[in-house]
């Protein structure tokens, strides 16, 4: 799926996707090298490419492994410890493999006022998980999220890179059914 990205947006690709290839090399492929060069060309320092590259690793693999961090550290001339320090600060980087559908339910104030806690409960109940846990078939991970910036459309739920708005407990079953089954990947 080689696609040449404009350098201006090469480091800004959605990285919470259902489709991913856990075995894809980061910089061993032509696409990876192109992406790296495109990103590096946009900043005066190599270090500034860190967040874009962490995003790229997650876009590819679905999460960020210690191996990914070591590889990124090497190309950016940073220590792996530094990369870990930064990666662990940001909540969107998955430090463990996540379900194919990462369901993030906003429970912040505006959604809270509109029944978000019940929406979260419903997701957990229907997937049979506790918060942060992945279903055994690897399909779902349900998380409580901080404000998703869709307060006028409460309750806001983000599933991978898509927003679902005005979600009520009644809509949960329908939303889950619309996501792919256990056999597809």
């Amino acid at each position: 799926m080689s696609r040449r990205l404009h350098p201006a947006v090469a480091g800004a690709q959605p990285f919470q996707l259902a489709e991913r290839d856990p075995d894809a090399p980061l910089f061993g492929s032509e696409e990876g090298r192109e992406r790296l060069e495109a990103i590096l060309s946009r900043y005066p320092t190599r270090r500034a490419a860190l967040l874009p590259l962490l995003g790229y690793a997650q876009e590819l693999h679905g999460w960020i492994s210690t191996g990914d961090m070591e590889e990124i550290a090497e190309v950016l001339e940073l220590t792996p410890a530094y990369v870990w320090s930064v990666a662990s600060f940001y909540t969107m980087y998955n430090k463990h493999p996540a379900g194919r559908h990462m369901i993030q339910v906003c429970t912040n104030i505006s959604c809270h006022l509109n029944g978000a806690p019940r929406v979260l409960e419903e997701f957990l109940e229907q997937t049979g998980t506790v918060e942060g846990e992945t279903t055994e078939d690897g399909r779902f991970t349900v998380l409580e999220a901080e404000c998703l910036g869709a307060c006028g459309f409460a309750t806001a739920v983000q599933i991978n890179d898509a927003y679902h708005e005005n979600v009520t407990p009644e809509k949960v079953a329908e939303i889950l059914a619309s996501l792919d089954g256990p056999e597809s990947s």
Partner: protein, 429 residues
């Protein structure tokens, strides 16, 4: 991505005129709507001329602090000794605020145009749009627009064939509210933890990559093309002397018609809540409003006649903030709502300053204990004391942000706290 509600009254729209029109997202659609005319004009102007117009317009920063935009630009060195940078702050994460997302997802070219005009004014060679990582659908729209604008020569080596060049890069965050604080944003953009730093140095002296930098909010930048095109007097026909222009209002919480509304600054808050947003659903009554987002002080139903300008809301004891009123109606409970707000700030504290790192988390724990019926009256004294300790004592204002709603909730809704106190404790006092 339906655009749910519109203000049916006769109002002026600058920022939101094309929201809800999918065609406006493409370059061709944007050009049909008069897009990039302001940029064509700006590239023929001297940088200081642009700054002057914006200064005269009285435009104030829309990210929360309300600092005059033109003045901020004028802090940048007029004779560059190296690169200058513009950072567009699109890391919108303040609970209650969802305006920048709307601007970007409907009219990405408006932001791009504003960015380039601002870049010219501050002599920046590169613009970074720092977009909140969660906004994937928005990022796709924005990326598409940026590529189109590059290809059509609105960004790049010679902007609008003027010979003046400027680059623009979309940079995405990864889940950290504090990256929306300007020094936190720059720390993050440089590939670090989004930890704010103590000023000085100010960004205009030494910002991102050690170079003079201006950080402007998306809505601020989106307001610039209109001002440059039509002049400062045009912009000043709306709003007040100190708060000119129009503003996106993100209305949420218990409302019949929540959503984004572009309104002239200066309407009474009650009018926005009741006339524009239809008030709370099912005829319920308003109990409280956080008028400028979750980091502003609560106003009660009796205080809604205040005027929605920067100065008007300040006089009322709150703040305009991001103009994101969160409405709590009579069915809402203050303590759980306050706990949820505090929980957010505790989660988002970067953890550098002790007051913020420990204080926001402790406040959350105390509020949760009260919420669960295990509170004691003296907890309120502790909370008040923590309010004092978290005000003005840290590197950035994240700690202050939790104090505004907390202190006002204690002042104005003490009875709701007391009603939850442990029975034995209540009897004892």
């Amino acid at each position: 991505m339906a655009y749910p509600y519109r203000d049916d009254r006769e109002t002026t729209t600058i920022l939101s005129r094309h929201m809800g029109e999918p065609e406006a997202r493409s370059l061709s659609g944007w050009l049909e709507r008069g897009g990039y005319e302001a940029l064509r004009k700006a590239v023929q102007m001297e940088p200081d001329e642009i700054t002057e117009v914006v200064k005269e317009s009285g435009l104030r920063g829309r990210g929360g602090a309300g600092f005059p935009t033109g003045m901020k630009w004028s802090f940048m060195p007029s004779e560059p000794s190296g690169p200058h940078y513009l950072c567009a702050n699109a890391d919108e994460s303040e609970p209650g605020a969802f305006k920048d997302r709307e601007i970007m997802r409907w009219t990405p070219h408006l932001l791009i145009e504003g960015c380039l005009i601002a870049a010219r004014a501050i002599r920046a060679e590169h613009v970074y749009i720092y977009v909140r990582g969660e906004f994937f659908p928005v990022i796709r729209v924005l990326n598409q627009a940026v590529v189109e604008a590059y290809e059509a020569g609105y960004i790049g080596e010679s902007v609008c064939d003027s010979g003046w060049g400027c680059d623009l890069t979309v940079h995405i965050g990864a889940g950290a509210y504090i990256a929306g604080e300007e020094t936190g944003l720059m720390s993050s953009l440089m590939g670090g933890r989004a930890e704010p730093w103590m000023k000085p140095p100010f960004p205009a002296q030494r910002g991102v990559f050690g170079a003079p930098t201006t950080v402007n909010n998306v809505e601020t930048l989106a307001s610039v093309p209109g001002i440059v095109m039509n002049g400062s007097a045009w912009y000043r026909q709306w709003g007040s002397e100190k708060s000119p222009g129009t503003k996106m209002w993100c209305c949420s919480g218990n409302l019949t018609k929540p959503g984004n509304y572009e309104l002239e600054l200066g309407l009474p808050l009650g009018e926005i809540i009741h006339d524009v947003c239809g008030g709370p659903p099912e005829g319920r009554k308003v109990k409280a409003v956080l008028p400028g987002g979750s980091s502003t002080a609560f106003l009660t139903a009796d205080e809604l006649d205040c005027v929605t300008t920067y100065e008007g809301l300040q006089e009322a004891g709150s703040a305009l903030g991001t103009a994101s009123p969160i409405v709590l109606d009579e069915t809402a409970e203050i303590v759980p709502a306050m706990r949820r707000i505090a929980q957010f700030y505790a989660h988002e504290s970067c953890g550098q300053c002790v007051q913020c790192r420990e204080g926001t988390a402790w406040i959350t724990k105390i509020l949760r204990r009260i919420e669960e019926g295990d509170g004691e009256p003296r907890d309120l004294d502790t909370l008040y004391d923590l309010c004092d300790q978290l005000t003005g004592r840290t590197i950035c204002v994240l700690a202050d942000s939790v104090v505004f709603p907390l202190r006002s909730s204690l002042d104005k809704f003490r009875h709701e706290y007391e009603a939850l106190m442990r029975r034995s404790a209540s009897v004892a006092t």
